[in-house]
């Protein structure tokens, strides 16, 4: 755990309290069972926004608290623990970052207050195929009209603002534009994924942020996703450990079996390294360090691998009941895999890290 400021500690404790009491995993199960269009409960997100979570990285003049990425990461970690279905990652981190980095004053003052208040949800529309590949785009923009199709857009069903990548830059598209159409994609994690088609939708370019704006935005989103995965992995670990301590087989509690003890010790170590990688990423953002791209690839790759291993072991160590829909642990496995793919698999980021280091 990084050394936190007083505000950060308060924010984290509040988020921990809230997810435990108001929004345990059962809340996600309800969202799942009711097949909500948005992939989350709008009233719940409104509550989160009211607590200020949607504006954590947003400047005060645009209605945020300007607490920084570490603070938002702490909230994402806690909501990750309980698999809270919400557009916090896509909107309050992803879309907000895009505007902060690349938006004009007008764009910022138009959109950021709405994001901070939760009035609208923003999201990133980057990929055009099932595998993350931001360099590949066929989106065309001419005369301020944008056309093309973006796949597997998180919160694509509910988004009121799309941050859309094109070959020549990154654009804003209002979700209410008549040229926007969405098609629900039912994914294994049962969240609000969509394929979004833009057919001559009005688009404004993000002029700030420089040539690598898309990378900068994505790196923030990647670190945010890693923070969510950190919460998931920690919780899956805790739940599994608790299960091993109470489940009896062969007249012994499972936690007394040395082979399982050593596997848990390995996982404990992996999750601690994962935490360091995530905190390093968040700190790099808050400190505006020069190695953000490397820190982001490190955070995402290390987090991907740790949650991958942890989610597999969690199911295996739960035995038969871990295979049932009645138990929550399977949800972690499912959500883990979509987050692993989102904004770059481990292979993607290892390749990128090598490239960033010139080898």
């Amino acid at each position: 755990m990084a050394i936190l400021s007083e505000e950060q500690t308060m924010l984290r404790d509040m988020a921990r309290e809230w997810t435990k009491k108001e929004n345990p995993v059962g809340a996600f199960r309800k969202v799942r069972d009711e097949k909500l269009d948005a992939g989350y409960e709008p009233a719940v997100y409104a509550q989160m926004a009211e607590m200020g979570w949607a504006g954590v990285i947003i400047p005060e003049e645009q209605g945020g608290s300007d607490f920084g990425y570490m603070s938002l990461g702490l909230v994402l970690e806690e909501t990750g623990r309980s698999l809270t279905a919400s557009p916090l990652l896509a909107s309050a981190l992803g879309a907000a970052s895009a505007l902060i980095l690349g938006g004009s004053d007008d764009q910022k003052s138009h959109w950021l207050p709405k994001i901070a208040s939760g009035e609208i949800v923003g999201t990133l529309a980057v990929d055009e195929g099932p595998r993350h590949n931001p360099a590949k785009t066929e989106v065309s923009v001419s005369g301020g009209k944008l056309s093309g199709t973006k796949t597997f857009v998180p919160e694509g069903m509910s988004a009121g603002l799309f941050i859309v990548s094109a070959a020549d830059g990154v654009y804003l598209v209002d979700g209410a534009d008549g040229g926007v159409s969405r098609s629900d994609r039912s994914m294994v994690d049962q969240r609000g994924w969509a394929e979004v088609t833009f057919d001559g939708a009005a688009a404004q370019k993000l002029e700030g942020g420089g040539d690598d704006l898309l990378d900068q935005i994505l790196d923030r989103a990647r670190i945010g996703a890693a923070a969510e995965m950190l919460g998931m992995a920690s919780q899956a670990f805790d739940v599994t450990l608790a299960y091993l301590k109470q489940r009896v087989q062969f007249n012994q509690v499972l936690s007394s079996f040395q082979a399982l003890q050593h596997r848990m010790a390995d996982l404990f170590g992996e999750i601690e390294l994962m935490r360091s990688a995530v905190e390093n990423g968040l700190t790099a953002l808050d400190d505006k360090r020069g190695d953000i791209a490397m820190a982001a690839s490190q955070a995402k790759a290390v987090a991907n691998d740790a949650i991958h291993h942890m989610s597999k072991e969690a199911v295996q160590l739960h035995g038969g009941i871990g295979m049932t829909d009645e138990y929550d642990i399977g949800f972690y496995l499912k959500r883990a895999r979509t987050l692993e793919q989102l904004w770059g698999s481990s292979a993607f980021h290892r390749e990128r890290f090598a490239r960033l280091n010139d080898y």
């Binding site: 099932p130 199911v315 295996q316 038969g320 871990g322 295979m323 009645e326 793919q341 481990s346």
Partner: protein
């Protein structure tokens, strides 16, 4: 070196092969070409088409769905050599064996070994005709890997038992006609207090509740027995012999889960071909994801080595007549590789490998998701990997008990 087979043996084989081929031509409906029956036990009964019914009845009548079982109980009465020929010709004709399920794979062979004459006469023929579905009543909520801990109790009432208790992980319990179950008949002995009995699933006091799995499917049930009357003629072997019989049956299960089972579930298209479709290749013709390329190459070599090992076990069993020690690793390694493959499929397909239902995904993609999730069970049921490791290290490697 073994001498060449005698001419007469050879010509007998040829005759049999010709017979099979002719019979298949006459009986296998062309409309069923290329279908398979491998997932039926997982996916539950589907409505049988007229052609499917005809095919099942034709095979059942010949006993060829259970080719090596004795003819007197409805089996095919074939030699292993003939069964192999039958199998080859079935593949050649793109036909499938319509007789399957737990009755064929586990219960039948066990009953043939331990059942009374009357029991064999009653229960084997319907299995050979594919008319009766059996399910397995072994696991209980507190007896998973530790099976000997079962608590379901059968009280002796003279000519019958009254059974009370709860089973879980009953495969296809909601569709089954009968259940072979481990029931405690003596509380004072752990292993020796268990009996193996046959229970009608439509008997009074039997209730089933399907268990929904993370894959969304419900291939298993919880089964509740409340004062269920089980006549003593449904006891297999002697009272207290259930552990021995039950374990023998698990050997049949394990054989199926390792070699056959997982092999069947591997789709025919190799991973690298899938990957070329989804990932594409670079100017050198190499998969456009270097790490994935390495992983697939590694997997494919491991998989070949595993298949080679499974074949080696078979060959050794044939030569020595016994089961080799190597067979002990097949389940553990086969299921591990199967899971590894499923995870690689996600890496290949990306988000398309994580579809749940509906628009935007091909049938193959959706099936891939379910296979991935369902496959997580393979290292848990039929003796978890942890239990396999205990068995290998203690029984095969002679390492002592860890207690």
């Amino acid at each position: 070196m073994a001498s060449a087979p005698a001419d007469t043996a050879q010509s007998d084989s040829d005759t049999f092969r010709a017979e099979v081929r002719q019979w298949l031509e006459a009986n296998f409906p062309a409309s069923l070409k290329g279908n398979d029956n491998s997932l039926s036990s997982v996916e539950g009964p589907t409505d049988e088409s007229a052609d499917e019914k005809a095919w099942r009845e034709a095979v059942g009548a010949k006993g060829w769905g259970t080719p090596t079982w004795p003819k007197e109980y409805g089996g095919g009465g074939l030699s292993r050599e003939q069964a192999k020929i039958l199998n080859q010709e079935m593949s050649r004709a793109q036909a499938y064996n319509p007789i399957g399920g737990m009755g064929v794979m586990m219960f039948g062979p066990t009953l043939l070994e331990y059942g009374s004459e009357a029991q064999k006469k009653e229960h084997i023929p319907p299995i050979t005709r594919g008319e009766i579905r059996w399910c397995q009543g072994y696991s209980e909520p507190n007896a998973g890997s530790d099976l000997a801990n079962i608590q379901t109790f059968g009280e002796d009432k003279g000519d019958h038992y009254v059974v009370n208790g709860q089973k879980t992980w009953t495969s296809g319990g909601q569709w089954a006609d009968k259940c072979f179950a481990l029931v405690r008949t003596d509380k004072s002995h752990k292993h020796e207090g268990i009996s193996f009995m046959l229970i009608d699933m439509d008997a009074e006091g039997v209730d089933v509740k399907p268990i929904r799995m993370i894959s969304g499917m419900s291939p298993f049930c919880e089964t509740f027995f409340t004062n269920v009357k089980v006549p003593k003629e449904n006891l297999v072997g002697k009272e207290g012999q259930g552990w021995t019989i039950g374990k023998r049956l698990l050997q049949h299960e394990r054989t199926n889960l390792s070699g056959g089972g997982s092999a069947i579930r591997m789709p025919s298209m190799p991973l690298h071909a899938m990957a070329k479709t989804y990932v594409g290749v670079n100017d050198n013709g190499e998969l456009d994801d270097g790490e994935l390329r390495t992983k697939i190459s590694d997997f494919e070599m491991q998989w070949r080595s595993f298949l080679g090992t499974a074949m080696r076990v078979q060959a050794e069993a044939k030569t020595t007549g016994g089961v080799s020690e190597v067979s002990s690793i097949l389940k553990k390694v086969g299921t591990k590789l199967g899971q590894q493959r499923a995870e690689l499929m996600i890496e290949i397909m990306g988000m398309k490998g994580l579809g749940w239902e509906g628009e935007g995904f091909s049938d193959e993609e959706l099936r891939s998701t379910r296979t991935w999730l369902f496959g997580k069970a393979t290292t848990i049921y039929g003796g978890s990997t942890e239990v396999q490791n205990n068995i290998i290290s203690k029984r095969i490697l002679g390492m002592l008990d860890h207690q």
